[in-house]
Symmetry: C2
Subunit: 395 residues, 2 copies
């Protein structure tokens, strides 16, 4: 199975923005056009590329997306907006399209102006290297990373409209924001055919179950962007009915897969923590409680210390907002029941601590026994290395 | 100026709950009765002593409060509730009062039953040592601490009704909760005379501007309790009008003073961070934005690293919820303007970093230029020591 769906070409090149000289500019090109949808940060303080893309999606005649790392082009005022637009003009011009058909994503330091000569030469170089092979995909996925330990990619093959299609994606993100690092970006590409409105709707639903259900430290970036690009080169007509539902499930699955890679790669993290809250009256309650547990530094440090600390988890649920009966609450960590119906169980704390220490993933399941709704959320643990990394100003 | 107001007796003794053998049980006694008001945790998962006190305040015939450290009597079910009630019965019996006239506070590990023999002998010992001298006050203030570096106390003399009155208080708290530490507790005592309803109303207002405006890591405890006890032994009739307003201002001032000591003593903290958000349409907006900035691990690590990182502060404001115009935002840290009208200023980053590093308190002032309301919030920075302390399960 290849990484690049039909109707796509990619490239990733170094243009000198990263001091290391590594790849830092990517192009994603659909020579014959594609449907494109976008979901963006809800931060009031949003970056110039978000402003540009928001005004251009969803659309049915997308042609090219340019991404740079190492500079987020955020908090850069009017000049930043002109630079973001200029990036799309340069990318569009290189492939004979109009600037409105081009999108842009940026990630990296904020409050600094882009070095536009480097961007321009990077776009030219990347355009000359556009390719359909796996290497081109890998180069693009490397070019969008900043503090990530490595590229975050996924692919899956789909059977739709009686034919086969490909869905693949790349993401970046390890911490949320700041002059040393920034932002979650993702692009999901498919050669399945989608109507523009369907693309936007499916992406919004997929993001709310995936990229909106993760945190490293809960700090929302100025640049967060997820794009879905559908070239329509496989499986004929735009998807409808069961095919559309099947695609939606696969899209959500791929987004969850990519999303989980972000807290798994969270700065300094030693555990990916999956928090499932069940037995709620509605999904919004479950989401709110899972999110609050994930935001607790006491929960996050407990897991990094391999401490099966039910008190921190149950008390975080208690201040999350939604009401529930504390006397019906039960908690399971890595399969071990440690708190049932409002009181702690007798359990082998040493064995459970060992299980947490020896597994990269910690599974927390809290059941409120008050309904049928549930939600999952993923976060990183909190370690000394996270603090060192984010406090270390002069390195 | 003494610490103990007229009409009060205090004691602090060791009863064996703290493994160290230090003072761990305190009594606060008003032989001739007092008005008592209370404000409690809003956590759905609240401890037994909170349940007891909530049902007994406000009241006009308060007699005695018993406080123990090292065990929070939380998540202990029916038996925990019986134990909390029994603590009040024992304390009331010792001083010839009814159990309903007694209050109780507990702090420490959660999910474990109190050792009631130790509590009973501690109450007897403390009752025999009740005193009005400063040493008695200090012993009580030590006995309520857990992971605190030391007692947190304050006192001020007031001129009211043409006479003089005393207002003094003690608090404990350094981290919010967990089997190794728990809870913020505070008692403010005065010999001024207050009507019961006034006491409750003034305390609620003072707490919302003080103890509800602090965080260490933002984890709300099961046991948080603030009591106001007014013996009425000074200055004659219950306060009214200007005297009541003057008392209210002093009470709020004393509560802010005590409250700030908590993040200043935050586990592992090297800075007390004061966040003032001004230029808001209403105080609730200012409070929400200040609270969100204070909850950001990226802001907290920036300060521990002496990094004047405007991007983390401005972007945290952006996702706090209230709307504002990002182009009018300005930010001052320790008196230096580093971000004005939506763009970064040129500033001497090295000098500002030095100012952060060399001062215990960091002053952050964010002005949204959108109204006349403001709010202050205090938090700790986030350090390697915090993580080590809270992750270190097996010590």
């Amino acid at each position: 199975m290849p990484y690049v769906p039909e109707g796509f070409e990619l490239a990733g090149v170094p243009c000198g923005l990263k001091a290391s000289g590594r790849d830092d500019l990517a192009l994603i090109h659909c020579p014959q056009g594609a449907v494109a949808a976008g979901v963006y940060t809800q931060n009031l303080v949003f970056a110039a590329p978000v402003e540009v893309d928001r005004s251009r999606t969803p659309r049915s005649d997308f042609r090219i997306c340019v991404v740079n790392a190492a500079n987020a082009n955020a908090c850069t005022g009017e000049r930043g907006l002109r630079n973001a637009d200029e990036m799309t003009r340069l990318a569009a011009e290189a492939c004979g399209a109009r600037r409105e058909q081009a999108l842009v994503m940026s990630t990296g330091v904020i409050g600094e102006y882009l070095e536009m000569e480097k961007i321009a030469s990077g776009i030219a170089a990347a355009h000359s290297q556009l390719g359909r092979d796996d290497d081109s995909f890998h180069a693009a996925s490397r070019a969008i990373t900043t503090t990530d330990k490595g590229p975050k990619i996924t692919r899956r093959s789909l059977t739709l409209n009686g034919g086969s299609a490909l869905l693949s994606g790349m993401a970046k993100g390890a911490g949320m924001i700041g002059p040393r690092m920034a932002t979650m970006l993702a692009v999901v590409m498919t050669d399945a055919a989608l109507q523009t409105d369907d693309a936007q709707q499916l992406l919004a639903a997929a993001v709310s179950a995936s990229f909106n259900r993760i945190s490293v430290e809960g700090h929302m970036s100025t640049n967060d962007t997820v794009l879905l690009i559908a070239s329509g080169k496989a499986c004929g007509e735009p998807l409808r009915g069961d095919d559309l539902s099947a695609f939606s499930a696969e899209l959500t699955g791929a987004c969850i897969e990519l999303a989980k890679m972000i807290p798994d790669d969270g700065e300094g993290s030693t555990h990916l923590i999956e928090i499932e809250v069940a037995g709620c009256r509605c999904e919004a309650d479950a989401d709110q409680i899972a999110r609050t547990i994930a935001a607790s530094n006491l929960v996050k440090t407990a897991i990094s210390g391999a401490d099966p600390n039910w008190g921190r988890i149950v008390s975080a649920a208690g201040y999350a907002g939604p009401t529930f009966d504390p006397q019906r609450v039960s908690l399971v960590i890595n399969g071990a029941a440690i708190y049932s119906n409002g009181v702690p169980e007798q359990f082998d704390a040493a064995a459970l601590s060992r299980s947490i220490r020896e597994n990269r993933e910690t599974m927390i399941r809290l059941d409120l026994a008050g309904g049928d709704s549930s939600a999952k959320f993923w976060t990183s643990d909190l370690t000394v290395d996270y603090v060192t990394f984010n406090a270390d100003y002069h390195t």
